[in-house]
Structure formats: C-alpha cells, structure tokens
C-alpha cells in the first residue's frame, strides 16, 4: 500500500540557490527551500500549523522569469523552477518592509514572557537593522486595555495585522472568538460585537497569545513575573490535568514557576493547549501547600513533626491494625493524578507488605 502510494506521487525537481532539490506536488517554495536544503527565509505571518496566508510578504524570493518577487509561503513549487532566496534586491525589499512595519508599532522590544513566538518580530528587526525610523508617523491599532481578563493582554498598538491569532482561533481551535475589523492603519482584532473576551466564544486556551509574533497579544499571567530576576529556563513536561496529556514547557525564573508555554512538537497536542494547561499552574507554589509531616493530636489539631517520627507512626499504625484485625483490614487508594511511580509503589506497598490485593484508585469516582 505504502509503496503504491509513493509510486503515485510524482517526484519533481527545482533549484534553490543553484542547488537541485526534489519535491512533490502541492509543496510550496517555502516548504521545499526550508525543509530540504535548510534555507532560512524570514516570515512573520507564517505558522506551520496554519494555512499559509501571504500577508506580510517578508518571505519573498526571486523566481527566474518572474519580474516581481513572490511570496514563498503561498506560491507552489513547479517543475524546473529556479528560486533565489537571498539577493541584494530581496534583502533590501525585506528591510524596507520591516522598517515600515516597525514604524507603526509603539514598541519593538517585548518581554519574552509575552508568549512563545513573541520575539519573532524583534529578532527580524534586529537582523535587518530596521530600527531606522525612516517611516516614522502614523501608528496602527489601539490597545484594548478595558478588557479586564487576567490571562490575555490585548495591546494592539503592537499589532502588525498578520492575522495569526485569528487564524489559529479558527483553524486550530475551531472557535471564532476573534476577527478582523477594518483594514490598513485602522485594522483591529476584535471579538464579536467588540465584547470583552469573557463574554465572547473565547475559551482562554491562549493559542492566540502563543502565536503572536510581536507580543501584541501577551500572556498576562506570565507577565506578572516581569520583575522577577533571572533568565527564563524551560522544562519540558506534561500537563497535570486531563487525559489528553498535552506537552508543555514550564517557564521558571530561579525557583519560581512563572508560566507555561505549549510544546509545538508535543506528540498529543502539537502546540495546542486549553485554559487549564495554559494558565492553571500556580497552585504548585501556593501558600497552602503542605510542607511538613503532620500528626493529629488528642485535641484533633495537627502537630508538625519530622519525617522519621511521622513515618514510624504511620508504620506503627498499620502494624497494630495488622496484629488486631489481620491482613485484610488494611486498604490502599492510589491516585489517578500522581505519576506512575506513586501508583506503582502504592500497589506494591499493599501487596508486598500485606500480601493482599486490597488496592484501588479513584477512577470509580
């Protein structure tokens, strides 16, 4: 079957910067050039999980026989095509584009806590040395600071109208919480009837925040930690909530968890998250956490003790019940939320200590 399918796909060739590459029907110039010879082509409105959109024109390349540069993310590769990804003309074109876009924004530098893709714009501006202010003048977008939601910052002064947020909402989430109003300088990303997000279809999955290349949409919760000192470290793990098992990166500054970002290569989620995985992480370092073993006193209150005292008392209690009532008087309940190692040792504890199968977990609740 697979061999047949392969045989059906016609392999074609083209050249990218004078290098011959194979490709199959349907691939875009951008896909062929960046995946096969590993060329770097700058993009702003591109997110490889979404349909290419062709809005920013930063990904332009030269195609032999075509006068104007073409957007590589939307143009399909064709047999015998000769593409140049880098030339003085292209680079100048890209720089001018960036200078113009930069001039419309209030700020180019945003904190990396803003979101997964939030540094894309700044990095390109720096790469092309585009902070020239050549086009200083009218600004675009107006911030929606009246939206009081605690998760998603809506700072449209920094919006460059790439529509990635709108597209991720529609294509990835299947929701249509946000849309585009107007065009040009007065372009605005809004909810239906311009309501607050809470009163829209928005589920606060945070996907728009994570795909925004400028920080115009920002992770308001992570941004609370702007003042916390230290480099942002990321630790790959899995969401602690439902059974989908989405991969996430925990962001830390020193010993503080400051936020969560989706893992674009997560096997179960490919970058998607919901409100719980995205925003409900701060229970971990909540002041209510238990920090010390506790033993209940005669009067019903708990007393803090050291581990040895607590563990000895725990074991003693089981020993007494064992002597008085026998092996089948002791029961273990494992957690459906703790890791394997917890559930495994719990069942082993019951089986190895008492020789019974008196163990269950909370799946029946």
């Amino acid at each position: 079957m697979i061999a047949e399918a392969k045989a059906e796909l016609k392999v074609m060739t083209m050249t990218v910067d004078n290098q011959t590459v194979n490709f199959t029907e349907g691939e875009t110039i951008y896909q062929v050039a960046t995946r096969r010879p590993g060329k770097e082509i700058p993009t702003l409105c591109y997110d490889d999980r979404l349909e290419a959109f062709g809005a920013c024109r930063l990904c332009v390349v030269e195609v032999e026989g075509v006068r104007a540069p073409v957007a590589s993310c939307t143009t399909k590769a064709t047999e015998g095509m000769k593409v140049t990804t880098q030339s003085a003309r292209i680079e100048k074109y890209r720089k001018t584009l960036l200078e113009m876009v930069a001039s419309e924004n209030r700020s180019i530098d945003v904190d990396p806590l803003s979101g997964y893709a939030s540094q894309e714009f700044r990095m390109l501006i720096d790469h092309y040395d585009a902070r020239t202010g050549r086009f200083a003048g009218k600004k675009s977008g107006t911030s929606n600071t009246s939206d009081k939601n605690p998760f998603i910052l809506r700072d449209y002064d920094n919006c460059i109208s790439c529509y990635r947020c709108v597209r991720v909402c529609a294509e990835q989430e299947g929701d249509h919480a946000i849309n585009v109003m107007n065009r040009g300088f007065s372009t605005q990303i809004i909810t239906e009837f311009n309501r607050q997000l809470r009163d829209s279809q928005c589920t606060f999955c945070g996907q728009c925040v994570q795909t925004c290349p400028t920080g115009a949409l920002g992770d308001a919760k992570a941004l609370r930690a702007v003042e916390v000192e230290g480099k942002i470290e990321k630790t790959r793990t899995i969401c602690p909530y439902c059974g989908v098992g989405c991969s996430v990166d925990i962001m830390t500054r020193g010993q503080k968890i400051v936020g969560v970002q989706p893992a674009m290569d997560g096997p179960a989620n490919k970058g998607a998250l919901c409100i719980k995985g995205q925003f409900a992480f701060d229970f971990v370092q909540h002041e209510d956490r238990l920090t010390q073993p506790l033993i209940k006193q005669e009067d019903g209150t708990f007393k803090e003790v050291d581990w040895d005292t607590a563990l000895d008392a725990a074991a003693d209690g089981y020993r007494k019940v064992l002597e008085k009532y026998g092996r089948h008087a002791i029961y273990g309940v494992a957690s459906g939320r703790a890791p394997h190692e917890a559930a495994y040792t719990m069942q082993k504890f019951i089986r190895a200590s008492f020789g019974t199968n008196y163990i269950d977990n909370c799946s029946r609740a």
Binding site: N149, E173, G174, R198, T235, T237, I238, C239, Y241, C242, G243, G245, P267, A268, A272, L273, C274, I275, K276, F279, A280, F281, D282, F283, Q285, D288, R289, L290, I295, K296, G317, Y318, R319, V321, K324, A329, I330, Y331, G332, V333, G336, R337, P339, H340, E341, A342, A343, Y344, M346, K348, F349, I350, R351, A352, N357, I359, D360, N361, C362, A365
Partner: protein
Amino acid sequence: MSNPLIDMQKPDVIFAIGTNMTECHPVAATGIKKALAKGSKLIVADPRRIRLAEIADLYLPIRVGSDVALALAMAHVIVREGLVDLDFVADRTTGAEAFFEHVGRFTPEWASKICEVPAADIETAALWYGKADKGAIYYTLGITEHICGVDNVQSLCNLALMTGHIGREGTGVNPMRGQNNIQGAGDCGAVPANFPGFQPCNDPASVEKFSKAYGRQIDGEKGITKVAALNLCGNGIHAMIINGENTVVSDPDRHHCEHALKSLDHLVVIDIFMTDTAELADIVLPATSWGETDGVQTNTERRVQRLRKAVEPPGEAKPDWWIVSEIGKRLGAHGFEYESAKDVFNELCELSPIYNGLDWDRIDKGEYQWPVPTKDHPGTPILHINEFKNGRGVFKVIGYRDPAEVINDEFPVWLTTGRRLQAYHTRTQTGRSAGIDYLLAEESLEVNPADLEAWGLKDGQTCKISSGSLEIKIKATEISPRGTVFTSFSFADVPVNILTGSGYDPITDTAELKVCPVRLEAIPDV
C-alpha cells in the same frame, strides 16, 4: 482508547455519546472540529445541549441514563438495513446470531419512548454510522458513571463489532480518560483485580510471578473495590492509606464516606494540600507536586510520557514513591530500596508485559503507545488490528434497565452532574490558580428557562435541592433540556455528592453519579 488522538480527524462519521469534550478534553475536541471542517459527520447523544451538540450534524437529546436503549435501537436498524459487516463478524467475533436476534425487538419507536428522541433521528444515526467506511465512537464518564455503566460500554462495543468499525485507522471505541494519569494508575496495577500490566490477580502464574518479585506470598484472588472497602470501614477495614485523592468531596456519597473514614483506627493521607479528606487523617504526609517531581504518566491514547521536575518542592515535601517506600521498609517489606523515580519505573517495565520494551530513557520523547512488548517494538497506536486480546470480539446480549432511582411525583426533576472547562475535579488545583475565579467564581444549577417559569423560580435566585438540603444559585440556560438540571461537583461549598450515588454498577462498583431525581424549591429572599 483503541485508537490514537490523531485519528479523531479521520473518521467519516463520529458518534460522540456522554462526552462533554469541549469542556473536559478541550484539545481532543479540536480534533473533532478539524474532522468536521474536512467534511466528517458528527452525531452527538447527550441530555444537555452542550457545545458539541451545537456543532453536530445530528443531535440526539436523550434522557439521562437511556443510552442502552439508544444503542439497541441503532443495532436494530443496522441489522434490518443489512449494514452488518458480515466478513468482520464471521472472521473476528462470536455471539453475533444471538445478538442479532435479540435486537430484533428493539425498534427505534420502542427506544424513542425511553430516550425521548424522535425515532427518525435514531434511524438516521444508525444509518450514518452503519454506512460509514470509518465510524468512530467517543465517550466519557457520561457513559460509565451509571448503574448500567458496563452495559453502556458493551452496547457501544456491539455497535463497533457489527459494523467492523474497530481495529482500523479512524475507527474504534474510544473512552476519553478524565484524569491525567488515571490510565497509568491502572497500568501500574493499582486496581484490586490486576497486577501491573493487567495481569489478573486470580491467574496462578501471575500470582507466583509477583509473589516472587515482591518477596512474599500474595493472595490468589481479587481484592475488593474502593467502594466495597468504604462500606466495610470500622467493620472489617480498619486502616487505609490514601494518596492524593480528595475522596470526601469527589466520592458519590459524602456523608457515608466521611463516616467511613472516621471509623478507621488508622488513616494516612499523602497529598499536596490539606484537603477535606486529609483533615480526617491521623497522619498527613506532604508530597511533591507536578513541576517538582520526575516521573511518568500515560495519557488516554496509552502514550507513555515523561514528567520533569522544574523547581524544588516547598519545605519537607517528598515524592510519593519515596514516602510510600519508607513506610514499606519500616514494615519489613522487601524491594523498596529505590534511589530515584527511574528505578521505580524501570522495575515496572520489567514486570509488565505491555511495558517490557520500554524503560526510562526510551520514553524520553513520548513516542510510544503501549503495548510495547520488546525493545525493538514500535508501539501500538491502534489496538485490535488483526485480533482481539482474547481472540474474538464477543457480542453481549444486553437489555435496558432504568436508573437506580427514577423521577416520581415527589422528585420530578432529573439532576445530572459533570465537569466544567475552568475547574478540575475538586478544585484543589484550579481553585488555587490565580485568575480562574474571574471566569468561574461559584457553582450554579443550570435550568431551562421554560422550566424556571413553570416552577416559579427565577434566574439568579438561590434554591434548595432535595432530598438533601443543598443550596445553589440558579442559572437559566438553554443548555439544559426541560425537566433536567445540571451542576458540577467541583466546589466544596456545593457538595453535590450528598445527593447522588445511591446505586452502583454491579460489575465495576462505579457509582451512579450521573443521574438522580430531585425536587427544587425556592428559598425566600431574606
């Protein structure tokens, strides 16, 4: 799940029953939305007009607890219309004849009276699913949390078997697991019927294997379930160890559960917060939390994935495995000399056939879905491809039963329970995450506006639900059908479980959390 999550984008027809997926498994629901965008058809059966129902091509607003009747009638239509996959049935199943004869009686008209949906819609659902090249079933606790939970699941399996919608890409019978590692707890043998890797406790070879591995003779018969154990507290069961479960708030019957735990001589609770359950313990031991613990968890598609530590735990908190092992050592049990989570996991892999091919290093990227029997095995994204675990797929002859309690003159309203997008379980975690309150600050009882008018109640008013004496704020919404009201079990100040859970499935002891007849009364404004 028999099939991987990615398969949600592939069926021609998706039959989602008893699953509020957009709220409970939001990222999985995006797969269904993508399938719809590609032209798949979606059938949703649920008492409430949930978001999934809104986007469905066919919505069956079935009465709570009537799932078996619906499935029987669908099977009836599939047989009558000659949509049975005869080759599949002949090659891979047994018991088909008796089942096909059995369903002859259960017409859509018959089911319509029980499910309260039009017979024509049941007919359509059966035709779509029956004719599909790839039909897939998805369900959650809306199916299992009933006295007939096992019947419900088996009815769905019957549908998949008769149409051959199993063992192929884009098909299957797919339960969505609620908690992050509930699948893993089962994999690890934290169940009364199985050792790790689903090796039965009443299989002599398995008993010998584990008795040898654990250095003492283990009983050769199944243990009792948690529900049974709670019933025996103070009268047979006298000590418990509970790990990270807020039993008192999540269990079916709160009073009963509290009373049971209080009558123990000795209760140890291991948790990250002082929960209502921990309050009842003699000893409370502080565990490390997510983000502080290295470990492993398995998702709903049997994918084995690594959890990693990002920060140090607070105070003296320790990993669960360390705490449990230390108590084990003190009781003289063997084999608790672990130095790391890795040691524990690798021991599990050695003892569990479905994990034999895995180890700590191999699961680093989360590529494997069990069973992975050997080191060179690629994992098993789709189950039952060429055969079922026990050979043939068995048709079960099942009849419809009413819920444990049904509505009557005194208690004329169906109450059903579930979860909400922004709250998780008993909110020990989401309730302590900043900002969640902005979206979901309190519990409410969702009632159809027309019912409010008929019952003389108002939106926003507090009412009393009886029997029991639960007070709760009313929210008018079209999501609730007439005659059925809904709330979640997430808020401790609205302990719905004092009302629910009078019946249990005779096979699994799963509580009837989903349906309960109630009466609503206005509380006069003070």
